[in-house]
Amino acid sequence: MNGWQTLFYKEVLRFWKVAFQTIAAPVLTSVLYMLIFGHVLEDHVKVYDQLPYTAFLLPGLVMMSVLQNAFANSSSSLIQSKIMGNLVFVLLTPLSHWNWFVAYVGSSIVRGLAVGAGVFLMTGWMVHIQFAHPLWMAAFAFMGAAMLGALGVVAGLWAEKFDQMAAFQNFIIMPMTFLSGVFYSIHSLPAFWQRLSHFNPFFYMIDGFRYGFFGQSDVSPWTSLAVVATALLLVSTIALHLLRTGYKIRG
């Protein structure tokens, strides 16, 4: 008997029932980025010497959507349930902290990948795309979504008000994704910012994901894989610990 499957299914259904807001809206945002930045910069910027800017931008936008929406899913579900009080229905069940983790992070991965796929479908026709290493692509998309889903669990448990959640999202998640090389290759940055970017795990997710498309990246995909795997492990450990101890949900 697997109670976690029900919780996972419920979490997927939760965002699916409001798909306009949870999938269509972020897809549209990314399409707009693609149209505007592509139009403005297409003829002025070339990355890795020969790559048109829009082709470079596309994987970055896809990955950014995956990450932001994976985070938004678990974090908003948890904070809403906490504030509405209906988290009690799950708290009263025999589900273990692992069950919670798999269900919340799993549904976040589904939402992240669904939005990513949507962005890809809506913008893919604008550029000529290569798929150099599809397995690398899949690995980074999955692990990135998982890490942000787990981070969403941490934030969702920690935040007591929508205000705090908005702060987490706008002051941590947004800057880290925007400054991770979605819109530029970090080689174009001044040395100081280049070095700083190396401390941003989101940079490795996007760089590794991009390697899957072009077979070219700012750092080795193996380095990126190691960094992303470590970050995923770390955040998951924290999330599992908070779930096990009932941090802020079991008084």
Binding site: K10, L13, M84, G85, P94
Partner: protein, 309 residues
């Protein structure tokens, strides 16, 4: 083996601000509920009833002591304990994303139960929810949401049913439906733990009662025994005007209605004389048997003076 066993359960909340006192919500609460009992947990607001139930349900942790459900520790063996428990929370909460049937299917699934629709239909039917099965939770009135809460607590046919003030703000019809249903489940062998502020409900339903005050058990008796030990009778009358101070201390006053505990004819005469001496006219005078509310007030007052001495 007891269905529920609370063993020296204490709960201390840390001070909310620096310099404030920590709050002792429960102080060494020990009591056992036997399988098949209909057990009442009574006490004024803030006595610790909900805290005790939260600890039982795993929503909160005891500072010390332990709680067992059919021998399963609610902390160390929480999965087994929670399978045996069906808890109706006091807060009127719901998930706005789903319909009544969806909510009940999910709740079944969390307990690992698939294809539970036969039992779900029976629950809906017994709680007067059949025509609301496909309604979204948002569209339901407060009373209907309360019924869904009860149904959600029962999807996994728990051996122990815990109801935390299930009839607060609920109309007469639902109260009747609910108690008929719960009484039937109790007859079938389900243990019931109930907290309520409606003492006539507790008197009618509960075989045994514990009274809590400031986190301590101040009475734990069979309901019939509690009623028997109470002041034998109550003098009830209607008055316009202020009661003499001597009577005010022992009276239960509701608007014009004054109720005074009496033990014999002499006391009745003395009370009436005191009222006459205060130049008041008593109307609709009657003498009735003490009910649970009288006992409750007596126990609460007694433990108050006890605490002072």
């Amino acid at each position: 083996m007891s269905a529920l066993s609370f063993q020296s359960v204490s709960k201390i909340y840390p001070p909310k601000s620096a310099g404030a006192q920590p709050l002792q919500a429960l102080d060494q609460v020990s009591l056992d509920v036997q399988e098949g009992e209909f057990f009442g947990l009574l006490g004024p607001n803030g006595a610790g009833k909900t805290t005790l139930i939260s600890i039982l349900a795993g929503l909160s942790r005891a500072s010390s002591g332990r709680v067992l459900v059919h021998g399963h520790d609610v902390q160390n063996d929480y999965a087994a304990a929670r399978r045996l428990l069906g808890v109706v929370p006091q807060e009127l909460v719901f998930d706005p994303f789903f319909s009544v049937r969806e909510a009940l299917r999910f709740q079944s699934g969390y307990f690992g139960i698939r294809r539970n629709d036969d039992w779900i239909d029976e629950l809906l039917d017994n709680l007067g929810l059949s025509d609301k099965a496909h309604a979204n939770m948002r569209q339901l009135s407060g009373g209907m949401r309360r019924r869904v809460l009860v149904a959600q607590a029962l999807v996994h046919k728990p051996r122990v049913i815990v109801l935390d003030e299930p009839t607060a703000g609920v109309d007469v019809e639902l109260r009747q439906t609910l108690w008929q249903f719960i009484a039937r489940l109790n007859k079938q062998g389900h243990t019931v733990l109930l907290t309520t502020h409606y003492l006539e409900e507790a008197e009618a339903l509960c075989g045994r009662i514990a009274m809590l005050k400031r986190g301590q058990v101040v009475a734990l008796e069979r309901t019939s025994e509690l009623l028997r030990t109470a002041s034998a009778q109550v003098l009830r009358l209607k008055l316009d005007g202020e009661l003499p101070p001597a009577l005010q201390a022992i009276a239960r006053v509701t608007g014009r209605i004054v109720q005074l505990p009496v033990h014999n004819a002499l006391e009745i005469e003395a009370h009436l004389a005191a009222i006459r001496a205060a130049a008041l006219v008593a109307e609709d005078v009657e003498i009735r048997q003490a009910d649970l509310e009288d006992v409750f007030l007596e126990v609460m007052n007694r433990s108050q003076s006890g605490a002072l001495s």
